[in-house]
């Protein structure tokens, strides 16, 4: 499977009850170049990496990550969230060239 830079996925549990502490897994496709490597032809590969990640839940910022190119290619991150309302969970990844990548999932509670 090929992916474009900025393609993102957020994985949350299938069944969520109000008040659950859920684990959120997120991945975004990005080269995360450090600026220290060269191409096989010897040309330097400039630094190109995600440096800011903002997590919002129902429009409220719940976490913010400052990254460097020391995060591995196609960055993954997981964290917990207290699921206390039915609302979108959104993440915005920003890279050092000014590109912004967004993805959202809806936190909703089963009727069971």
């Amino acid at each position: 499977m090929t992916t474009d830079i900025g393609d993102a996925r957020i994985r949350i549990p299938d069944q969520i009850k109000r008040g659950d502490l859920i684990t959120v897994n997120a991945i975004v496709s990005h080269p995360m170049d450090t600026g220290f490597f060269r191409t096989p032809e010897g040309n330097p590969i400039p630094a190109y990496f995600i440096r800011d990640v903002v997590v919002t839940y129902g429009g409220q910022e719940v976490a913010r990550f400052e990254w460097t190119s020391g995060i591995s290619r196609d960055p993954v991150v997981s964290f917990t969230l207290k699921a206390d309302k039915e609302a979108p969970l959104s993440m915005v990844w920003s890279d050092n060239k000014g590109a912004i990548f967004k993805h959202s999932v809806l936190i909703s509670f089963g009727s069971a």
Partner: protein, 161 residues
């Protein structure tokens, strides 16, 4: 989770022997580190980062578990898990977790700013490591306390170029 904790403890036990051999040198190290079993501050860069983040506050060991492999064959992809038993209430919570890799080109690798809405500190990601070194996970609470855990990771393949 239990497996990870058990692994984490086994890491600590193996690290203890290494630390004992170095304790004399560690005792003489910078005052930024308060516990003789803590890794010494290896260079100006790390000293500057710690001073900038935490000032003169003591960096105590506890309330954080940094879980990493003892040996990382590929320095381009090294898993990291950071957990804490500290509360995440509006009165008392962890407001930031800092990840510092002593001998990486950009030693202050990541900062995770948190709010009580996330409910607990359980962060995982994957990082690059240039060579064998100490990794520091240091968290700061909203009341100004600073807690840390350390892991020494042996790196076989340089992941930073």
């Amino acid at each position: 989770m239990n497996h990870r904790r058990a692994f984490f403890r086994s890491c600590l036990v193996s690290a203890a022997g290494l630390l004992a051999a170095r304790s004399e040198r560690l005792l003489a190290s910078t005052r930024l580190v308060v516990d003789p079993n803590d890794p010494e501050v290896p260079n100006e860069e790390v000293a500057r980062i710690l001073k900038g983040l935490f000032g003169d506050r003591p960096i105590r060991r506890g309330h954080v578990a940094l879980d990493m492999p003892l040996v990382a064959e590929d320095g381009r992809v090294v898993p990291v898990i950071i957990e804490s038993d500290l509360p995440m209430s509006s009165q008392h919570h962890v407001k930031a977790v800092h990840l510092i890799v002593d001998h990486n080109p950009d030693a202050h690798l990541a900062a995770f700013h948190l709010t009580p809405a996330i409910g607990s500190v359980a962060i995982s990601t994957r990082i690059k490591m240039k060579r064998t070194t100490w990794v520091r996970a240091i968290l700061e609470t909203n009341t100004g306390e600073v807690w840390a855990d350390y892991a020494r990771v042996q790196v076989t393949l340089n992941g930073c170029g």
